[in-house]
Symmetry: D3
Subunit: 290 residues, 6 copies
Amino acid sequence: MNILKLGIPKGSLEKATIELFEKSGWRIKLSSRNYFPEVDDLELSCSICRPQEMSSYVEKEVLDAGITGKDWTLENESDIVVVADLIYSKVSKRPTRWVLAVPGDSKIQRLEDLEGKKIATELVGYTRKFFAQKGINVEISFSWGATEAKVVSGLADAIVEVTETESTIRAHGLRIIHELMTSNTQFIASKAAWADPWKREKIENIALLLQGALRADKIVGLKMNVPQTHLDQVISILPSMNGPTVSPLYHSEWFSVETVISEHEVRDLIPKLLKNGAEGIIEYSLNKVI
Amino acid sequence: MNILKLGIPKGSLEKATIELFEKSGWRIKLSSRNYFPEVDDLELSCSICRPQEMSSYVEKEVLDAGITGKDWTLENESDIVVVADLIYSKVSKRPTRWVLAVPGDSKIQRLEDLEGKKIATELVGYTRKFFAQKGINVEISFSWGATEAKVVSGLADAIVEVTETESTIRAHGLRIIHELMTSNTQFIASKAAWADPWKREKIENIALLLQGALRADKIVGLKMNVPQTHLDQVISILPSMNGPTVSPLYHSEWFSVETVISEHEVRDLIPKLLKNGAEGIIEYSLNKVI
Amino acid sequence: MNILKLGIPKGSLEKATIELFEKSGWRIKLSSRNYFPEVDDLELSCSICRPQEMSSYVEKEVLDAGITGKDWTLENESDIVVVADLIYSKVSKRPTRWVLAVPGDSKIQRLEDLEGKKIATELVGYTRKFFAQKGINVEISFSWGATEAKVVSGLADAIVEVTETESTIRAHGLRIIHELMTSNTQFIASKAAWADPWKREKIENIALLLQGALRADKIVGLKMNVPQTHLDQVISILPSMNGPTVSPLYHSEWFSVETVISEHEVRDLIPKLLKNGAEGIIEYSLNKVI
Amino acid sequence: MNILKLGIPKGSLEKATIELFEKSGWRIKLSSRNYFPEVDDLELSCSICRPQEMSSYVEKEVLDAGITGKDWTLENESDIVVVADLIYSKVSKRPTRWVLAVPGDSKIQRLEDLEGKKIATELVGYTRKFFAQKGINVEISFSWGATEAKVVSGLADAIVEVTETESTIRAHGLRIIHELMTSNTQFIASKAAWADPWKREKIENIALLLQGALRADKIVGLKMNVPQTHLDQVISILPSMNGPTVSPLYHSEWFSVETVISEHEVRDLIPKLLKNGAEGIIEYSLNKVI
Amino acid sequence: MNILKLGIPKGSLEKATIELFEKSGWRIKLSSRNYFPEVDDLELSCSICRPQEMSSYVEKEVLDAGITGKDWTLENESDIVVVADLIYSKVSKRPTRWVLAVPGDSKIQRLEDLEGKKIATELVGYTRKFFAQKGINVEISFSWGATEAKVVSGLADAIVEVTETESTIRAHGLRIIHELMTSNTQFIASKAAWADPWKREKIENIALLLQGALRADKIVGLKMNVPQTHLDQVISILPSMNGPTVSPLYHSEWFSVETVISEHEVRDLIPKLLKNGAEGIIEYSLNKVI
Amino acid sequence: MNILKLGIPKGSLEKATIELFEKSGWRIKLSSRNYFPEVDDLELSCSICRPQEMSSYVEKEVLDAGITGKDWTLENESDIVVVADLIYSKVSKRPTRWVLAVPGDSKIQRLEDLEGKKIATELVGYTRKFFAQKGINVEISFSWGATEAKVVSGLADAIVEVTETESTIRAHGLRIIHELMTSNTQFIASKAAWADPWKREKIENIALLLQGALRADKIVGLKMNVPQTHLDQVISILPSMNGPTVSPLYHSEWFSVETVISEHEVRDLIPKLLKNGAEGIIEYSLNKVI
C-alpha cells in the first residue's frame, strides 16, 4: 500500500498545525512521549520534527512532505517543492520577520557600518550569504537563543533575530536597522514525491483541503431573498468572489440569492443590500471554502 | 475624514458589549490600562465610560453615541435619542429592576408609609422625582454601594436598589414593597449626531448589525425536502417569521423549503413536519438575522 | 395535563446526556443537591437515577422512560421497551465491554477451567446466568468496585469487569480470557408508557430529536455549483445518504447542488468533485439531521 | 522481614489520609490505575480499600490495620481493635451523623410511628439491629446512593442517611426525626496483629505519630522573656498543657519561658502576658506535638 | 454582654484584611451576599463597609472601630482616633500616593499654573482644602472613576488621582506635577469607644495582635551555639532588636544564643557569625512578634 | 563599587534556582522579555543564560559565577572552579543521567559493537572524547532535540541522551546499553573571580546560604523535656549531626533538649525518645541550617 510520510512541526507551530488538519478532515493524535503521532488515514504516516530540520529531512526523502517555516527552508538551502503557503491568520496578524538589530546607542546606522563587526544569530547560513552578496565582511557566530542578551553583554555588535511584535527587541533597548526576510508557514514536498503520481495527488489533495479550511476562517455564507425587479441591482453590489447562486422561488416573483464573502465586508454590505431591496438576510459560518 | 465617537460601558456590561460588537463585525481591543480601546474601523473612535455617566457625555456631545442602561439615562434626565433597545438575552433571563425595599419586620407596607422617612439609594434623582410626583415627603441620601447594609444598620428606613434575582435583598432579610422601574441596555445617540446625515447613517448601520447579531442567538436555519403534493400543507405549519424560500428541484416533483425559526420551536415543529411529508430535515446555526 | 416521567443517568453518562438534550432542544438544569432537575418543558418531569437502577424503575413504572446502559438492563432482566440506541460517539471510540480476567500467571486459560472457582463482579446476575447456561459451576460474589484488587489479593480467582481501554486491567497484570457482553447507551420506556398513545408519541418525538442531534455530530452540509453538462456525473459520485437538492440557477446553465454527508468522507470527496466539474464548494456544520 | 499490611480508605477520606501520613513522616504515592500505592517504608505494604469493606478485611486479616469510619466498622459488626480516633479537624467542623429522615409533610413524628413502614438506607445491618432493639417492625431495603430521592418518589417512607451539614436532606424537603449514630475516622487493627509484638509496636508507633501530627494543627509554640520578679506570675497564667520550659538567661535576672498552647487561646493570652511583665513574645508553627 | 462593632473594608483591602485577622487569631467568614460576615469571637460584630465611608461611620458611632485608608479619613475630615498604622508590606512595596497630573503636552508646570483651571478627582474635599490653603482658585468636579480619561477627553485640565506604580497615569500620557498625600492602611476608633474602658482594651488588644502578625512577615528566628570565649563577640554583632536569649549549656563551656532579626539581614549576618565562632546556626519562621 | 556578575540558568532549572535564592535571602525578579533580572543586592548583577553556554561564559569571565549542570561544564571542557554541588532534592529523586541507547531489536549489545556506527546526540564533545579514549571509531552527529526519533527513523544507529526516568526512551522502544555520566546542578566560578579576595568571599557567602537553604528542606527542629536521670540515655540515642542544646530548667530536675535531625528519621526516633523518658516532644520546620 502507498504511504505518504508527513512531517508535523514541533514547537510554536505544532498546535495550530494539528488544529488545521482537524478542520481539514484528519485527526492527528499526539502522545507526550512519542514523536510518531497517530493519524486516522492509513495512507499517511506522521513524524514530529523541528521546523529547523524539516526541509533537510524532506530533501533527503526521510519525509515525503512537511509543514515548516519558509525561513528554515531558505536557511538550509534545501532543494524541495513549495506546495502551498499557509497563512495562519488567527495566530497573529503580523508576519514573522528576521531583522538586524544593534544596541540603541550603537554607532552602527547602516549595513555598511557592520564591516568587520561580530553578528550573533540562529540563522547563520542565510545571514552569511546575505552579507557576502553585499560584499560586507562580518564575523557571524551561531547563537542558541537568548540572542538579544549577547549584544547587550558585548559578545556581539549586532544580532539577526526573528520577531513578530518587536517587544523583546525593544525590551533590551535594541534598534532595528534592516529587515532581512519575512517568513510564513509552508507546505513543502520532496522532488521525488512530487514526481511520483500517487504521492503528488495525495499531497495536492491535502493542500487543497488545508487551504479550504484556512480560507473558511475569514469567509461567511450570506443568503437573502430579492424581488425580480431588484435582482440585477443586488447582484451588481455583491463582491465577485464566486458568482452568487440565484434560484427562483416557487409561485413568486422573488429569488433566493446565496453567496460567500469575506467576514469583514459584511458590516458594510448588509446596509447596502437592504437599501437595494434585499430581505430576510442571514449569515452563517463555514468550515471549508474550496 | 468623518469619525463617530462611540462610548463602551465599563463594568458589568463591558464584556457582553465587546462580544456583541465582535459578532456584528467590529473587533474592539481593550487594553487594561487605557480607556480608549482600539477598533478595526477607521470611522469609529471608542472610549470606555461608566454607564452612570454615559448619557451625560452623549448629551454634551463628548460622545456621539454609546451603549448604556436605560436606568442611568432616566436618572440623568439626559436629552438624547434612543436608537435601539438591546436585549442581551444570554446574560440573564430576568430584566434589571429598581425596587424599594424595607427590613422584613418594618411597619412600612405601602409607599405612603414612607412619609418623613429616610431612603438610601445610588439613584437619587429618579427616586426624588418619583416621590415628588406622588406627593410623599422623603429624605433621600446617596449611597455608594452596600446599600442593603444601610437599612440593616438603621442608617435608612428603606432603600431603592437594583436587582435581578432578588438574592442579595433576601439575604439581608429585606422585603420589596414597590418596583420603581425596569431597565435594559440601550444604544443611544446625541441629537446633534442624529441630525448629521453621515453620523446618523453610521449609527443606524451599527444598530442594524447589533440587532441582527442579537436576533441570531435565538434563531436557527431549517431546511427540508417536500413533495409537491404536500407543499402547501408543510408551508402552512411553518411559523411565519419570514416567508420560507421554496425552490423546485431538478427533474423532480420535489421542492427544497428553507426557513428560519426560533430555536425553542424546533423540537415541536420537526415531528409535525415529518408527519406532513417533509424529509431530509437539517438544522444549522446563524451568525446574523437581519 | 399529561406528564412524562423521564430518568437521567447519574455518573459517567450524566454530562453527555444533559448536553445531548440541550442540543436536541431541551434545557435540563441540575442542582447540586437535588435529584429532580428542572426542564423547560411542562410535559416532562426529570429524575436523576443511577444507571444500575434505571431499568427497574422503568419496569415498575416509577419512571415512564429513561437513559441507561444496555448492560444494566440485561443485568436486571427488566421487561421494558428499547426505544433507541444512542451511540455517544464523542465520548469514546471504543464500546464498553464486560470481560472475564484472571491474573497474568494464572493457570486458567478457558472458561471451562473456572469450574469450582471464585469470581468477583458487580454484574452478579448476568454472570451467574452466563455460567449456568454453559454448565460451569462457579462461586460468584458481589464486588463494590476496586474489583481488580480482589483477584490480586487472592480473594477471587477471576473477575468480570467493565472496561473501555483495558488500561486498569493491564495495570494490575490481569489477562482477559473472555468477553461476556458489549454495551451502549439506550433510551428505554416502560410497556405501560409505550401503550399509552400520548406518552408513546412524546417518547418517539424525544427519540427522534436525540437521534437527530447525535447524527449531526458526524455529518456536515456541502454545497456546490455544477454546470448542466456535468450534473449527472457529480450526482453519481455523491454518497446516497439523502438524495441531493438540485436547483437550477437563474439565467444560466448551472445548478446548485446541496447535500449532507459524513464528515470523514469530505476529504476524499472534495478532490473528486473538483475533477468532475464542481466549483465554489463550501462545507458547513449542522445542529440536527433528521 | 516483618511487614505490616495497611489499608488506606478510597474516596472522601483518601486525600486527607495521605496528607496526614505525609505530615507524620510517611510518603504514600498513589498511582491512578493501581490499588497498591508505594510507601517509603520497607516494613509497610499499603492497599487502597473502600471504607465500607475495610473492617471486614482487617477482621479476616487480609489487612493488619487500616483507616476507616467508625460507622462502617459498626455496620459490619467486625471484631477488631480500635487503636485511635483520628479527628480530621480541618476537613469539617461538624461530625458525620447518620440520621433518620422523613418527607416534610409525613405524619411520622417519632420512631414508633415507623411500625410497618419501609426504610431505605446504605447502612442496612446497623439500622436493622437498631429497630430490633427497640421492638419496632420495619422493612429495610438497601439503597445504593441517591437515597433521598427514594423517599421523595414514594419508594420508601423514611431513609437512614449520612450527613454533615444537612443541606442535601433539606434540599429534598426532608425532616430529621432521629439521630442513630455519630461517626469519625478511626485507626483499627486486627486482633492477630495486635497480639503479635512486632506488629503491635509498629501500629502503636504509627498511631503515635498520626496523633502528634493531628494535634499540631491546632497548637503553636510561644516563647518570651520574663524578669525573675514576675516569673511565678507569668507561669501561673500559662495554660497547663505541658509545663513550660524555663531557662535562666546568662548574666541576668531574666528567664526564657517557652510553651505550647492552643492556637485559639493566643489572642487572649498575649495581652495578659504583656501586662504581667513578659517581653519579646514570639509565636511559631509546629509540625508534630507528642 | 459587651460587643465591639468593627468595620472591614470592601474592595482592594478586603482580602489582605481578612488574612491579617486570620494570622492574628480571628477567623472572619465572608458570605458573598451579606455585608455582615461571621467572626469566631462573641465580643465582635463585623460589617463590610466601603473605605470611603468607613471614617464617617466610625465618627457617627455606627461602628466602634474599623480598618480603612488614611486618605479617606482625611477626605472626610472625620474626628476619630488613629489606633495604629498597618503597613501591609506584602501587597506592594510602594506607598499609595495621591498625585496631581496633567496631559504630557500641557503648558501647566507648577501648581500656580492651575489658577482658573478645572480639576477632576474622587477626592474632592481634600483637594479643595489643599488649593484653598495655597490661595489658588480652581474648579473641582467629582469623578467616579476612569478619571484619567477625563483629562485626555478635555473635560478637565488636570486630575488628582491615586496611584502606586504610576502605570495607568503613564499609559494615558499624563505627567505628574505634584504629590498631594501619601496614604496607608489604618486601624481607627471612635472617640466614644476609646473612652469606654472595655472597648478601649478590646481595641488595643486587637491592634497589638494585628501589629504582631504584620511584624512577623519580615522577621525570622535565629538560633546558634557559641563557646564562652566568643560569647561577647557574637552578641556584639547581633542586631539589637530585642536582646538575645542566652542560656548556658549543660556540662559545657558553650551557650545557646537565640534572637529574632529582620529577614533581609540574615544573608549578611550568617557569614559574620560563623567567622566569630558561632556554630549550628538555624533559621525558622514566625507567626507573631510582639 | 564591587559587583559580582552571576549567571542564572534558563529553562528547566530556572524556577528552582530562583526559589532557592529566595529562600537563601535574595529576591530575583524575572521580566518575561529581559535576560537581565533585577536582584535586591547592589553587589550582584544577574543574567539569564542557557545551561549549555554557562560554563563558557564563566570561563571567558563574561560572568564571575553561575548555576549550571555538571554535564555541560564537562561538555565544554571549561576551565573553571566548582564552588559547590547543589542537590535540588525536591525536584526529582533520581539523578540526571546521560545514557547510550539503541533500538530494542538492534544487534548492538556492547560499546565495542558500535565500531563504525552513527551516533546522534546533543552532547557531541563529551561523547567524542569518551569513544576516543576507548579506541572505538564512531561517527557522531549533533542532534537538536527529538533525538530518540532519529534512531527510530534509521538516521542513527544509537543515541546518547539525557534521562531521569527513562520513560521517553522506553516509549520509543529503545534499550540502554551504557551510562556515560551522571550529572547534577553546580555553582561554578571563574578562576579570576576566585583569585579576587572580594569576589571569592562574596561567592563563598552565597554558596554558604544556598547550601543552608537546601539542607533545611530535609531537616527539622526537635525539642523535648528530659529528667536528669535519663539525660545521658536520651542524648546517646540522638543522631549526632550537631550536638544537642541542653539547658537546665528552672527549679527543677529536668532539662530542655533541642536538636536538628533529618526529617525521615523522626518517625523512628520519637517512639524511642518516649521510651527513654523524654516528654513534651515538638517538631518544627526550618528555613536554613548552616
